[in-house]
Amino acid sequence: MKSIKALGIKAPNSAILAENIIKNGAEDGIIIMLSAGAEEGFKSIAKKYGLTYEIENKNSVVVVRMIKSEIEIEELDVTGETCPGPIILVGDRLSSMAVGDRIKVTSKSCEAIEDIAISTPQMSGKVIDQGTEGDKSYVVIEKTEKKVEVAAAVNRDKVLVVQSNGIGNAERAYATFIFSKAALSMGKMVTVFLLMDGVSIAKKGNAATVKHPAFDKLDKLMKEVIDNGVQVYVCELSAEFRGMKQADLVDGTKMAGAATYVTLLSDPAYAVVNF
C-alpha cells in the first residue's frame, strides 16, 4: 500500500492529489500524511472509492488512512490441538503478521476460542468479531501495534486463587473458597483457577464427599462462592488428563486453557494466592 507525504498542500488540492493517486494505481487505498486541516474532502473520496476512512493526529501532521474495506482474512483452524497448542499457533501467526492484517481462528472447542479471545490483547491483537458458525466457534483478530508499556501504580483490587490440590487434600481444598469468601467480603473481585489435581474439586459429586469440621460441605461452600460472582476456571489440559469434560463439571465452572491462566497472572491488578 502506498504511503505518501503531502505536507504543505492545502485543501482542496490535497484531496485532488489523493484522488488522482487512488485512480492511477492505488485502488487498494493509501496512507497519506498531511498538514493539519488539509484532510478536508478526504472522507467523501474514501466513500466514492469504497475505502474505509481513518484519521490520526500526530503533532501538526494528520495521517489519513483510506483502505480497501474488504480486508482478506487468513483462516486458522485449531480443532484437535491440545492445550496450549491453539494459543501457541495463534501467537506464532500473529507475531509474523503486519499491523492491520486479520486472522480468523476456528475450532470445534468453544473453550479454546474463548481462551484465545481473552489473551488476544496480550499478543498485540484486537478481537474484531467472535461467534459460532455451524459446529465451530470462531474469533477474528486484527494485529495491532505493540503498545509501549508505561509504568503506573495499579490498584490491586482483584484476587486470583490458584489451586493445584484436589479433594485429597481437604484443608487446602477448603482454603480455595474460604479465602475467596474473605476477599469477596472485602470488596475484591475474585477469580479461581483450578489446575492439576485441583480440577477434581470441580467434578460433579466430588466436593460433596468432603467435610470440614467447622464448615459446611465443600460443594455448598463452592456453590455459595460461585453464586456470589466468582468465576471458577478449570484447566482444560488437567481435566482432559483426568478424563473430564465440561459436562462433568459442576455448574458455574468453566474450562480454560493456559493462555487464560497466564493472562490472569499477568494482570497487575490481581493479587495471586497460590496453593
Partner: protein
C-alpha cells in the same frame, strides 16, 4: 519497455525541443547499465537533465558528481545539508522573510526516505533501463495538451504542487516517483540560472506507465482538433 517509437510520436505531436529524459535512482553500482559512464563533470541534477535533453548525454551521477547538495539530498543520494534542512540557506538567499517560513517550505518538499547510490540519465528514446520518472520540458501550451491527454481516460483534475525551490529534483522526480502521478513545476531560481531553463518552459514529471496512453490521447486530439 522500448520508448523509441513513442518518443517519435510525441515529437511529431507536440514538436518538443530536445528529448524527454529518463531518470532512474539506483541503490548500487551493479544496477548501472552497460555503456552508461560516470558523468564527466560535477553538475547539478537540473543541469544533467538539460544536458541529456538537449545534447543527448547519458550517464550516472553519484554523490561525488552531484554539485547541488539539496537536489542530491531530496533524492536520497546523500544527506540533506544542515543549512538546507533547517531553511537557513533559503532565508539567507532572501526567499523567505523568516527562518521559520523557510523551514515550513523545506519540511514540505518531497524527499525520498530510502538511500540511493546514484541517479541515471538518458534520452528516453534510447534508454536501456526502465526509468522511475520521465522528465519533459514543455511550453505552457504543450503542457496543457499533455495534461489533457493524461486526464482523457479517467477524467478528474491534476494537482500540481511546487514551492519555487528544489524543482527538477523534488517536484519533477521525487514527488512523481513517490506518488505515481504527474507533477508540474515552474522550476526554481537555480535551475533557471544554472541549467538555463528557458523563460517560456515549464517542467513536467510523468510516471512511465502513463506515457503510452498520453501518446494515444494526443493522437486523438490531433484528429479532432488538428495540429497544436
Amino acid at each position: 519497455m522500448v520508448y523509441e517509437e513513442m518518443v517519435k510520436e510525441l515529437n511529431k505531436l507536440l514538436g518538443l525541443k530536445g528529448s524527454p529524459v529518463a531518470v532512474k535512482l539506483i541503490k548500487s553500482a551493479d544496477e548501472i547499465p552497460k555503456s552508461y559512464p560516470k558523468m564527466s563533470k560535477k553538475k547539478r541534477h537540473c543541469e544533467f537533465i538539460q544536458d541529456t535533453r538537449l545534447e543527448g548525454k547519458k550517464g550516472y551521477a553519484t554523490a561525488q558528481e552531484h554539485l547541488c547538495k539539496g537536489g542530491a539530498g531530496v533524492m536520497g543520494i546523500e544527506p540533506l545539508p544542515e543549512s538546507v534542512a533547517s531553511g537557513k540557506m533559503y532565508h539567507q538567499l532572501g526567499n523567505y522573510e523568516t527562518t521559520e517560513g523557510a523551514l515550513e517550505t523545506v519540511n514540505a518538499v518531497p524527499k525520498l526516505e530510502e538511500k540511493y547510490y546514484a541517479s541515471i540519465y538518458s534520452p528516453l528514446e534510447s534508454a536501456k533501463f526502465e526509468p522511475d520518472v520521465i522528465v519533459i520540458l514543455l511550453t505552457p501550451k504543450q503542457a496543457l495538451r499533455v495534461s489533457q491527454a493524461y486526464l482523457r481516460a479517467k477524467g478528474g483534475r491534476i494537482s500540481s504542487d511546487y514551492s519555487g525551490i528544489q524543482s527538477l529534483c523534488a517536484d519533477a522526480v521525487v514527488a512523481v516517483a513517490e506518488r505515481g502521478v504527474p507533477n508540474m513545476t515552474l522550476g526554481c531560481s537555480g535551475s533557471r540560472k544554472y541549467a538555463e531553463i528557458a523563460d517560456e518552459e515549464v517542467i513536467m514529471g510523468i510516471p512511465p506507465k502513463n506515457l503510452a496512453e498520453i501518446v494515444d490521447a494526443l493522437e486523438t486530439f490531433k484528429e479532432k482538433w488538428g495540429e497544436l
